[in-house]
Symmetry: C2
Subunit: 390 residues, 2 copies
């Protein structure tokens, strides 16, 4: 009798997303193989099958993919042409290069979404050289400030510049001189940011999580509230439908996170990500199926899991490194202070502003749940200047 | 500034308990090092820091313990004298050899619990040689059948023999000839089996999970229901207190599972285990803190986590290997049939009767939740003879 082995999922990238995917892989009984840049990266410390290499180098990717049933990604930075070459060797890449292009290049994404009639902020590619006359005209039409973006490679506020007036638009000259491809977008006077997280399998099954609110500080997400408080039911349903439709039209396999602006006129798409996403970390405790399990199920073409929430409210707060890298004493305090808060540390050295973990709290009283999550995250970040307040 | 590194927990044994402990270690950001017998053991497939060796050999244990902040155990079979030697080198073992003796030797356990006034079935050591006259006298006093037990090394129904009459007591001669140390116990005409799971930290903090019902078939636990349906509140509180008291009196650090008989006259202790336990697998989804996280927190002397249940009822069913080792097609079916059931596979080859995984379902309707868990577990076990019924 032929016994089918449990499959091997290769994930390029050794960050915390791969690390947390390992928790789900252990339960599912599938093997996660990680391509990490160094043996002490976040996921490399947690996975038995680690290959050390450069996930932007074709040879390393080809060697890594041998023996994987499917290859997926911890980030967007694997070059599209390399993924195409992997695909040409017969290794299924999920998401595939064609879909992933929309998460790798913001201009490609905007053009495609606009074709599909998906609401986006006004945008345009920035001509090179001599970008400033164009930016001034764009500013006259759509108002200042403008949002200047690198079309590729940005994350966590990197690759995004808020340009307040024509004078500040000089930054575009400097960036283009450095070889950065730029686009410009209207600055959206939004009420708040939301995120829609969906999964899609090769079979075409889709699953949508509740719409969350994401709270940003300095371009970095600090807090995620599920479900987004006070969000109108029809707007929540619209956001889920939009994300499922984008996943389908773009042929996404795996997770798709759609970052949204909620404005007075409705929803606008901000960014796309095709992988487990910071806005979905709450699902580990707050949904019947975590985003990491869901991503594995989707890329393996397994039936998707229930996205049902496990509590009325779940709040996730990111733990950023503070001035004091000695986190352990604060970690003990947080556990003693609140036995119900769940602490997730990523095995990363603490540096100021670096995401080194997250915390999750759940319950029925939103104000209390937020306070619990914030207290834990703030405390873990706390530096020596604040020690007197303990 | 001195930065305290996240601690390293060494776990002797590479089974599914160590495997699932890794899921909790990843979240906590602590490093789990496993001493496995072979690189393809259940936990060795899931952990980055695997040492292959014999966890019953002192040299392997000593080498393994170097660099661990604490050593704990996936099973009871590490010889007590070896643990004492580890302790003598200054490595904290949790639980320690003195406590663990009560989970390693059933006669030591019975004698100690009786001293403490903890209710147990009538028991006696079986003299050697010539055990039969003694057994006949024990049977006359306490009734037939008797329960004959190997004092050491038993698990999952192994090491236990139900002896129906004086004629069947001949088995004791054979066992003693093989060098097995025997004890005898009264056969308890119990209503059902319960389990009390508690944790205790070196600091002395204790935490008790809800009391569960464990359903056994052929000496193997097949199903665990949390909380035990219809259990009187005072009896539940008594079982929790009893387990906390035993943990304290015996100086247990880590988890303690107390298997109980519920009889018409109250509770009797059946067995003790000092590690994550099959009766606690439901806590992964069904409690705010999983037993695996709790065990790590306890052995690291971290504050313990909340044991609050996440749903009115959680049912865990073990997946045993069936006649057909090709589990994967059935695994797909189970996920398609019930998107809310959580499947845990242990990375073990399927063999008839072997525990190869478990499934968990949660909800408010106990009958429905049991049916969901059972269906999934039965289906995953299904052999070719039942394929017509798909």
């Amino acid at each position: 009798m032929k016994v089918r082995e449990m499959p091997v999922v290769g994930m390029a990238g050794g960050g915390q997303l791969a690390r947390m995917t390992q928790q789900a892989a252990i339960a599912l009984g599938v093997s996660l193989r990680v391509l990490a840049g160094a043996p002490d990266e976040s996921a490399a410390r947690a996975v038995s099958d680690v290959r050390v290499g450069n996930d932007r180098a074709l040879d390393d990717l080809l060697a890594f993919a041998q023996g994987c049933d499917v290859v997926t990604f911890d980030h967007e930075h694997v070059p599209g042409p390399h993924i195409q070459k992997l695909e040409a060797t017969g290794v299924p890449c999920r998401p595939g290069s064609a879909a992933l292009a929309h998460a790798q290049d913001k201009l490609v994404m905007r053009e495609r979404l606009s074709e599909l009639g998906v609401p986006c902020p006004a945008y345009a590619p920035v001509p090179s050289p001599e970008p400033r006359a164009f930016l001034e005209a764009f500013g006259r039409e759509h108002g200042w400030p403008l949002v200047l973006k690198s079309t590729r490679g940005g994350y966590d506020g990197k690759g995004v510049w808020i340009v307040g007036d024509p004078e500040e638009a000089r930054v575009a000259d400097r960036l283009q001189a450095e070889g950065v491809d730029l686009m410009v977008e209207q600055h959206v006077a939004f009420g708040r940011e939301l995120a829609a997280l969906v999964a899609r399998s090769p079979y075409g099954q889709g699953a949508a999580y509740p719409i969350v609110e994401t709270v940003q500080e300095g371009g970095i997400c600090t807090e995620v509230i599920s479900p987004a408080p006070g969000l109108a039911k029809d707007l929540a349903a619209e956001a889920q439908s939009l994300a499922l439709r984008v996943a389908d039209e773009l042929g996404v396999v795996g997770l798709l996170a759609v970052e949204l602006f909620e404005t007075g006129d409705g929803l606008l798409v901000n960014e796309l990500a095709m992988r487990p996403h910071n806005s979905g970390h709450w699902t580990i405790e707050g949904a019947r199926t975590s985003q990491f399990e869901q991503h594995l199920r989707a890329v393996l073409d397994l039936p998707l899991g229930s996205t049902e929430p496990t509590a009325p409210y779940t709040v996730m707060a990111n733990v950023l490194g503070g001035d004091d890298p000695d986190v352990y004493p604060r970690y003990i305090h947080v556990m003693a202070h609140d036995p119900g808060v769940k602490v997730h540390m990523y095995g990363k050295e603490s540096r100021p502003g670096r995401k080194i973990g997250h915390v999750t709290a759940l319950g029925a009283d939103l104000a209390e749940v937020r306070e619990r999550a914030r207290h834990a995250a703030d405390y873990l970040r706390w530096g020596p200047a604040m020690k007197d307040h303990r």
